[in-house]
Structures are given as C-alpha cells and as structure tokens.
Symmetry: D2
Subunit: 330 residues, 4 copies
C-alpha cells in the first residue's frame, strides 16, 4: 500500500501563496495539495488552471495570504484541527502573534510553524551546523541584511505602510537568524535604529555581550542581496557574501561579471521546497519542528522595537529580566 500523504490546502495564491501551492502540488512526495482558497477572483482563475482541487479529508493548511489575516486564518485552522504552516510574520502585532501561540499551546498534537524559510536553506544550515560544532568559538557579532532589488512600481513603499515597517517585514528574517545563531534565550539590552521607510540600519545589543546589526532596503540596483556574517571568538562565517544567479562568469571589456538573482525566489527557491517537505514529515511522523512557534513572536517583538527606535529616534533599554527601562530609569 502506498504510504499516506499529508492532505493539505493552500490559503492565498498571491505573491507568496502561489509558490507554496505549487511546491505542495509538485515537489512534496509526502504531501498532496487538495484544495486552494483565495479571496481574489483572479487568483481563483489561476488556481483553476494550475491546481487540481479535490478537497476532503484535510490534514493541514499552508497560509500565504496577506500578513493582516495570517493570524486569524491560523487560529481558525487550528480550531478545525489542522496543522498550520504560516508564511511569516504571524502578525505585525506582537499581541496578535501571542494569540496564535496561545491557541497552539492548547493543541499540542498540532504542528504549527511560521515559515522562516532561511532555516531550510542549505547554506544557512551548513553555517549553523558549523557554529553548533564550535568551529568559530562563541558567536558574538551577527551582521545580516535583507536587500531587495529596486521595484520601480512603488508597490513596496506603499506596502511598508501596512506591513509593520521594514524591520518587522524584512529584517524579521535577520532577527530570526539571530535567535537561531545566538540562541532563543538571548535578551536584548539596548536597541537603536536610523533611516527611513525603506532604507534603515538597526543595532540590537544583548545581555551577554552579543551584538546584531541589520540593514534592510528595497533600493538595490543589482538584485536581491541577503547577506549574513557571524563572527565568533575563534572564526567567522559568511553566507551569500557575493550573491550569484548561477555559476557563470562573463568576461568582457568591462571586466568579469556574475549575475545576481532579481528576487528572493532566485535565492531561496530550494529552501521553500525543503520547508514544504519538512513540514509534512513533521506532521506525519510527529517529529519536532525546526523551531518553536514562540520564536516567531520574539522575532516580531524585536522587529517592532527596532521600528519604534527608528520612528522615535531614541535608544530603547531593557534590564536583564527583559523588562523595558523608561528614560527615568536610565
């Protein structure tokens, strides 16, 4: 008898959603995409063309809708006893993120995962494994940037208005990497940020002495450039320091050129495929997920503080217990 496959439905078929749907349709031997929902008539049309929808006997839901409805859909899915793979962020509101976690805690038999896709990228996995084996000593400094190719349509500038801001929308990936490489338990000590709506630099210093600093922008002329460096007491690792579309170099009078992926998909395609395979495996085999769902809240929380520091022009401080210090306490 053929092994059982996870029966999964897709909510949302837009920018991110349709990629998740296609992955579960075509590239996940242990999962079967059985339905797809979308509020958008154009997306319905796309779905009719690309997806075979037989519905029924659903086990899980992958959520790739607009960020503003992630949490509500995740909670409803859990209430219908479905495993949930939710595109990041759970919500741009820390409070709402926490509600998702509350719901998940009530149903420990369900797998609830927020899709921090970089955790499934071969290069980041290799880097983490080296840190984990102590190859760079104790990690102390993390520099990470999420830089998108300039989109002349202006879509993303508008987008920033309701996405929680660049630190919540973009740097949340870098913050998640920080929690991964420094450990989930680290506590911020102080936070600063400078910049503008879609071009900003921020620093988070942690109790314990580690420092993470982030750059995010949507103005890169050359393409997607998501770089991470981790410096330890005995060595350093970089991931994607020189981005590349492929292994071709072109030599001309101008010099030697390597092309750069235009979008996150060119950089992270296989990470999304791996995520789409590891989630059904965890559901079917009841094995632990790559990261606890609480992590997703902590990442949004730190992103929100960076955003606040950016907007107010003030450094934020915390005591060692995680309590925020007001100006008068400083």
């Amino acid at each position: 008898m053929a092994p059982r496959k996870l029966q999964i439905a897709a909510a949302g078929l837009g920018r991110m959603g349709h990629r998740h749907a296609l992955n579960f349709l075509n590239r996940t031997p242990r999962a079967e995409l059985v339905a797809a929902f979308s509020p958008d008539p154009k997306e319905h049309e796309w779905a009719r063309e690309h997806l075979e929808l037989f519905g029924q006997g659903l086990d899980a839901l992958v959520i790739g809708t607009a960020s503003s409805v992630h949490a509500e859909e995740a909670i409803k899915a859990m209430q219908k006893n479905l495993h949930v793979l939710c595109e990041k962020p759970l919500s741009t509101s820390v409070e709402v993120c926490r509600q998702v976690v509350e719901e998940a805690k009530k149903r420990p038999h369900l797998k609830v995962m927020c899709g921090f896709s970089r955790r499934f990228d071969d290069s980041y996995e290799t880097a983490f494994s080296k840190v984990d084996q102590g190859q760079i000593g104790r990690p102390i400094i993390l520099r990470s940037q999420t830089c998108d190719k300039h989109d002349p349509s202006g879509f993303f500038v508008e987008y920033a208005a309701w996405s929680g801001g660049v630190f919540v929308d973009m740097s949340v990936h870098d913050i998640d990497l920080t929690l991964w490489f420094f450990g989930n338990q680290i506590q911020p000590k102080s936070i600063s940020a400078h910049g503008y709506v879609d071009n900003a630099v921020g620093i988070v210093e942690f109790w314990g002495g580690q420092i993470a600093y982030y750059y995010c922008t949507r103005m890169m002329a050359h393409g997607q450039e998501d770089v991470t460096e981790v410096i330890g007491t005995e060595g350093k690792l970089s991931v994607n320091l020189i981005p590349q579309s492929n292994l071709v170099r072109q030599y001309s009078e101008k010099g030697i050129t390597q092309e750069v992926p235009a979008h996150y998909h060119g950089r992270f395609e296989m990470a999304f495929v791996k995520e789409a395979n590891e989630f059904p495996a965890a559901c079917l085999d009841d094995t632990p997920l790559a990261m606890p769902i609480e992590n997703a809240v902590k990442a949004v929380q730190i992103g929100s503080w960076l955003q606040e520091a950016l907007v107010t022009g003030k450094q934020i401080h915390f005591d060692q217990s995680g309590k925020r210090l007001e100006k008068s306490n400083l």
Copy 2:
C-alpha cells in the same frame, strides 16, 4: 480530470540508476514511476524499500544500468514501443551506438534521448544562451574538464578498463558541450592526447579553426571540479570556475575557505531533476528533445579518437569531409 502522466519504468538501480528512479518517483509532476528492474538482488531490496511498483501501461524506460548493456536495453525498449531516456554513453563502441540510432530512426514517433545532464544545468543553459545571442562573438576556444574527487577504493581505476577509457567515460561530457557550443556540424581536423589511464589531457582542433582541449582525472584531493571556459572573438564565459558546495565562506587562521562538492551529484543534482522533467514533457507533448540522438554517437566517436591518440602517442588527422588521413597522406 487530472492530466495524464507519463508511465515510466527504471532499468538499473545502481550508482546512477537509483538517482534516476528517485527523481521520477518524487520530483517529476508529469511522470509516474511504475516499475523498476535490476539484475542485482541488493538493488531489488532497495527498490522494495523506496519504490512503489504497480507496473502496467508503460510509456517509457529510463536506463541507468552498466554502460555495457545500455544499447541492448534501449533497442529492446524501442521495439516494445517505449520512449527511452538512456544514461550516457549509449555504448562505449561507436558501432553499437550507431545501431541504437538506426533503431530510433525507424521509430520517429518515439523520443530517444541520451542523458547528457549538463545540457539541463542552469549555468550551462545560461552560458549557451549568451553564446547563442552572440554575446562573446564567435566561439573559438573551449576548455573543459571533468575531474572527480580521488576515490581511495580504487574502484574507478578498475572501472576505466571496461568503460572505454577516460575520454569516452568522462570527457564525453566535455565533448558533448563542445558540440553544443561550437555546433553539431563541426568536423575534427586533428587530435592529440597525453597521459595515463585516469589522468589525461587531449586537444581536438576543428576545421573552421576552433580548438577544444580537455583534462580529465579521478585524483582531485578536494572534490568534484567540472569547469568549462568558452572564449570567443568578443568575450569569454566560464562555468563553475571556482566550485562551491554552497554559499558559506569560513574564516579561520588558515584563511577564507569555500567547500567543494565531493561528487557529481552535489554539482548536478538539479540538472538531473530538470532532465527528468523535460523528458516526460517532450514525450507527452511530442515536442523536440534538447539534442538529436546522433550527437551522442559523435561525442563517443571523438572520445574514442582521443583515447586512441592517448594510447598510440600519435596525432590523428582528418580531411574536411571527415575522412581520416593515414600517415601516408600527411
């Protein structure tokens, strides 16, 4: 109604065969692996574990057995009206290669493809497209090497004895790239080679002035290093000049290090997946294959001449019609 999928069987489950079988099982939305055959009892066991065999209604056969039986299996499959995807080479004998082509010509409704996987690699496809668009002018020099990590077991040294020699077994990939980048119609003018059973350099000069030169070895300490450079009158392209396992760089007292794939699979995994998807598409849609099957014969022919030049220590010459010139004609 779900679209029809190509029903395919796998012959051979060894080093190459099991990878083809797994790709058709898990990574080809338009093909269904329905059977697997192997003469080896251990491979039968592997198949029971990994494959679901339901047999029946077969459309196609993927051949990943030992090179010595490729041709016989390919011919039998065509005689049973099956499309054929055959791992390279069709045969180590040019004569036997021709018999496969003869059989294929009798059955033009069948798709018969020899698996030169590099044709499906993103980087080679990008490079070819640039050449095709004239970005480097007229291509004149091609340097290509197939270099395997040293295998201390000695397997491959023995293997060379019955694989047709390194130029037929290994460089055949580089020769196929030459036919791709210079055009199938090019005719060798003279051929030289120097070296040993598993460490050799060869040169093919073509009528028209192009030169291809090849290096192949199985003694690399660091890993797989398959590099190609194409120099044209107005520019140059390189593919995989600095091999890399992933996008991580490790910094230590020794310097900055990038790891290298240990095997062809680390370098060409996605090319094999693409090949396994394009073959069913060509069969189901009756569209042309990436390359004519005659090409596979020409590649083996040139490989055999290089091997002869290596063994005899003599340069081989041809006239412009492709006729070989004997010493007395020179």
Copy 3:
C-alpha cells in the same frame, strides 16, 4: 643637474613611524630622509642600523610617534617652517586638533597633511572615481569596518584606554572615507553606538538622508579585514569584500582557501608608499593636498561623538546647522 629632492626627517620610529621612515628612505624618488628622532633608546639603535642621518637643510617632517604627541610636534614643526605629514589622528582631542589647524592656517605656504592612508589606496581611489563619475547615482549608504587580527598579547586592549577609544582610533579611517564619499560638507543628524572597548558598532545619520555605519574590532581570528561598501541610487561599490593576501587559492580536502593579510601593512603597504610620494610632490610643486586638514578634525569629532554614544548608551542629535540638541530640545 639633478632635480631637487624634499629633505625630510622622521619623528618616531615605532610601529607606524619606522614604516614611514623606511618608505622615505627607499621608495620616494623625490624625497630624501635626512634625519630621524625618537625618544626610545631601542629605536635609536634601529635608526643607526637602517637610516643614514646627515641632517641639515630640512624641508619637512613626517610624524609617526605616539598619538598623544602628534599635535605638539606638528605645531613645533610648522613653527620651524617645515611641511608636515602627520600620522592620524592629529590628536584624540578635538580641541587639540583645532589648534593644529589654527597653526596651519597661519602658514598657508606650508603643506600640512594628516595621513589617512586609505585615500592613497588604488582600490579606494578607483571606487571614489566611479562615485565621482556618477556610476552609482547618488551615494546614500556607506558601510565600513576596520577589523584587526586578534592580538593575543593584549597590547591593544590597554592601548584603547589612552587612544581615545576604538571609534577615534580605528573607525576614524572609516569616518574619513565617509567624508570623502559623501562630501566634506555633510552634517550629522543623529548618532548611536553599541558594544565594548574593542568590539563596537555605530551609526551616523546625516542631514540629507545618508547613513554611515561602522564596525570595528580587534578580535578577528583570520586577519585584517577592512571592508567598505557604498550604495547609491543606481548601483553599489565594494572594496576588499573578500580580503586576500595574494592571488593564490589552495585546494585541499577542506575546500578552496585564500589567505588573508595578518596586518594593515599587508593590505595597505602600497597606499603608504603612494602617500609618501604624493606628499613631497605637493610640497615641491606647491600643488593641493589630497584633502584639507580641516577634514581630519571633523573625522575625530565624529569619532568622539560615536565614542560618547557608546559609553553613555544615548543617541546624540544635531540640528541642521550642526548644533547639538540636548535632551530637552528633542
């Protein structure tokens, strides 16, 4: 008749001083090193061995002593009518820096230069020229780091105590690059910094929207890693993103490795030589120096503010006229 050479003396023969002295002795066709002074008896000995001291007819002084005496020596030299090339910083005190500038303004016939060696580095010159030609549009973001190989002797940790702190001692180079690439006239709007005595990250946001951010450390396991990136509205430039000692790559079971210079000298040797040649040229031909001496004060000023932000844990703000805003004004 042989062309006249600049007669120059060297003050200080320590870590930096002896390199300046050797350059003026051996690698400057238009200058002649005629004397060397040092308070340290061991340095006297070194000088007797390496330098030919004939004294007399002095035109200029190169100052490579401890930072704490730079300013005093520079002022005395000007008072003796000597051109001055002073190792950076003029002083760790902004006030004292200003006194040097005052003295220089009184004697406009003298060339007074603070040795920001990166201005003479081929790679930085190329990068600046591209920015200057508008090749990356308007420069907006500058990331720059000065990272030394870990010195197990602990010398530099002690050194930090009296060197003005890491932002004044190390990042001053990155700040000078900022003034070069963004223009001398830019005014800071706000400044933050986080970290420790020898491991710190800082951000300077400018009126006009540009942001510079800096990392400096003395704990690199692998060597010297001084990297700069400049992002503009239409492109980006990086300098030394992957440091390298030379053009050798070593392939082993570990992967492919490039070695890294252990010290600033391995990275900037030729920049110091160029500086040592351009200074005499400017003196002899009475041509303008690479940068106005006022710049050196501004760089130390910004470094001091970063250091203050680091120590106090508070963001510093300025109005558009350059006036510092107190908390009550925010």
Copy 4:
C-alpha cells in the same frame, strides 16, 4: 658611510626597457641607474627627460632591447666584466642562448640572469613555497596560460613572425614556471601542439609522468589573463584564476563586476620591482640568483619544440636521456 650601490646602465628604452630603467632609477635602494642607451632617437629623448645619466664606474647592465639583440649585448656586457640582467628570452634561437650560457660559465664571478619576472611575483612565490613544503603532495599536472588583451593595432600578429612564435615568445613564461614547479631536471617525453599564429594549445608530457599544458593567445577581449594551476597527489594550487585590477567590485543591473588588468604591467608591476631589487642584492652580496641561467635555455628549447609541433602537426618524442626519437624509432 653610505652603503655602496650597484652602478647599473639600461640598454633599450622601449616597451619593456623603459620600465626596467624607471625601476632602477626610482625603486631600487641598492642600485643606481647611471646610464641608458638606445638605438632609437625617440627613446633618447625620453631618456633625457626621465633619466639622469652620469655614467662611470659601471657594475651591471639591464637589457630590455629587442629580443634579437639580447644575446649579443649580454655577451658584450660580460666581456666588459658587467653583471647582466637580460629581459627574456636570451634569444629565440636555442643555439644562441647556449652561447650566452657558455660566456657566463667562463666568468663565474658575474651574475647573469634572464628576467623571468613571474619568479619574483608574490603569488607565484607563495605557491612555490607551498609546493616545496609538500602541501599538495607530488605535483603532477600544470596548466598555465599567457593571454593578452586583444590589440586592435595588429602589432603583435606581425611581431609573432620574428619573435620565434607564440610558444617561444609567450608560453616561455609558462614553461619556466613548469621547470620551477616540477624541477629543472625533468625531461620531456612527448610534445603536441595545435592552433594558429597567435592562438595555440600545447601539451608536454615528461618522463616521470608529469604533464604540462599551455594556452596562449593575444585575443582576449577582457584583458590580461595569466593563470597557472598545479595539481598534486594531495591538493592543488591556482594563481590568478580570476584576474582583477584591484579590490573593487561594482554592482549594477548587469551583476557584480571586477575589472581586469589590461596589460602585463598591471599584473606584474611589483614582480618587476622585486626583480630589480633582488638582482643588485645578488651582485653586491655575491649570493645565488633565483635560478640558474641554463634554465633559460631549456625553456626556450621546449618552446621551440612546441612551436615545431604546432607548425608540422606532428607529435615529437624523446627517450629518457633526452634524445629525440625520429619517426622510424617510434
């Protein structure tokens, strides 16, 4: 008293000669350029402008004239008791090279060096030192290329006619590297070559099993690309695999670009300076030169055989004693 400097004169002030003269004028603390000779009136003019000629008490001669007069000038200089640094090749005729060596053997107190500048390049020195320390095991394969940027003036195509051919004129550098890395004592076993007047590939197989293969051209669109790879039983080294003008990378819509030196001077400037410093040191201190002068003959000899193989289209064979085998012996 100032240490004695080597009094050196320069013969030839053309393409190569004027660079040697300038180096000895400005960048060699232990040598003094005291005279310069040239048959060309325009070069005389250049010399009057750039050089201070005082003549007298000559110790040495640097020869940078046309290849055709190198040998005669070298012999005359030795007869006048001068040390000689001669630009490569000593002669394009093996016989004439041998006359220079004969003359040098008669006068063992003189230093006679043929300027294989790559021997003084930091990267090649580092690579050799690693090979010498056994870091790649026993070196077996050497690939080396000398590739010039296309010169649209056509000068070099004409030049090839009287320069001995590309293998003697260009690949002689790669052959010299082969003798360095494999050892001066290696004996060719067989030689092949294919190609045209300024675009050729050659292979030299040695008794002992080592293989060297060379590519040389003057048609590179992008610039100078002199690459060497040495493969050993336990590792590999590459030198200048990705050529670069400097440490700048430029990011644009096209991708990430590194510029390439247009000429040998951009790649080897510092090697020429080092050569110009090590030669006087050997003369003044009577220390051994970097390589025996016999080497320069052997390199030209192998280049001539490659050139012969190229022109005749026939492989050349040798027995283990170095005796050439005729067809009838094969």
